[in-house]
Symmetry: C2
DNA sequence: CTGCATCCTTAATGATACTG
DNA sequence: CAGTATCATTAAGGATGCAG
């Protein structure tokens, strides 16, 4: 009954590509992974996503909130307290992005050895030209 | 027996993060998705990944080859003929990246409605300040 | 503390021309 | 055809200061 959706990320003008561009992004992936632990404050996320700047995290969270992946709760306090958590939609994205993180971790040894081999081969090729 | 690897993408200096940065990328995702069909020529990939420039595709493929995800076969012909295909390592990445593409396609309707709601709310907030 | 605004620097991308 | 090289443009990212 359900026919395949007409959306196709491989088509440049398909709206779904704007969504792919957002989620296929290292900051998005790490932010969502951090929020898999549950509801977190801005500063806690920033600590979890080691190396992210305040500006980039604010932008990432704003974009994720706009896309309905993260919800933002601001408490009217001084100093401010703002908490973020994954929405129901965001939780459907949690596992796919976590899988990417796991892939990077489990295959980094293979990747680094491939890099070393490639760089070695390139160096030889360069030397042969001289 | 197998202890958890010491790699952690959430740590800025962990080598696995360089790998995450490469795979959590829209061009990488679409290129790998294109190569899921099998062995393809440069021009065929370029056609499949609609909108990618020749320069960016060449760089993406070179990076993927360096990381051991894609293999490159150049035939000594004129005009040149170069074919690319996923390696065994690359095929382990195929499903996680395909999942991202499917997520973008399946949820774009929800995402777009979230965006509309967010933009509407922002517009109201802006108007209230005047 | 949480952001936003600003300025600045760097990286990514695009357009074009050119070579094997 | 499959690149590479160059240049121009744009986007991403970092640093700082400041307001709520």
């Amino acid at each position: 009954m359900d026919e395949q959706p007409p959306w196709n990320v491989m088509v440049a003008t398909c709206p779904s590509r704007t969504s792919l561009a957002r989620i296929a992004n290292k900051w998005t992936a790490m932010t969502v992974i951090a929020l898999s632990e549950g509801r977190l404050r801005f500063g806690e996320i920033r600590k979890a996503v080691d190396g992210i700047s305040g500006k980039v995290l604010a932008e990432t969270l704003r974009d994720l909130e706009r896309d309905g992946i993260v919800s933002r709760t601001a408490y009217d306090q001084m100093p401010p307290r703002v908490e973020y958590e994954l929405t129901a939609l965001g939780r459907t994205l949690q596992e796919p992005l976590a899988a990417l993180g796991r892939w990077a971790e489990t295959h980094i040894v293979e990747v680094e050895s491939a890099r070393a081999a490639y760089d070695e081969k390139s160096a030889q090729a360069d030397a042969a030209m001289s």
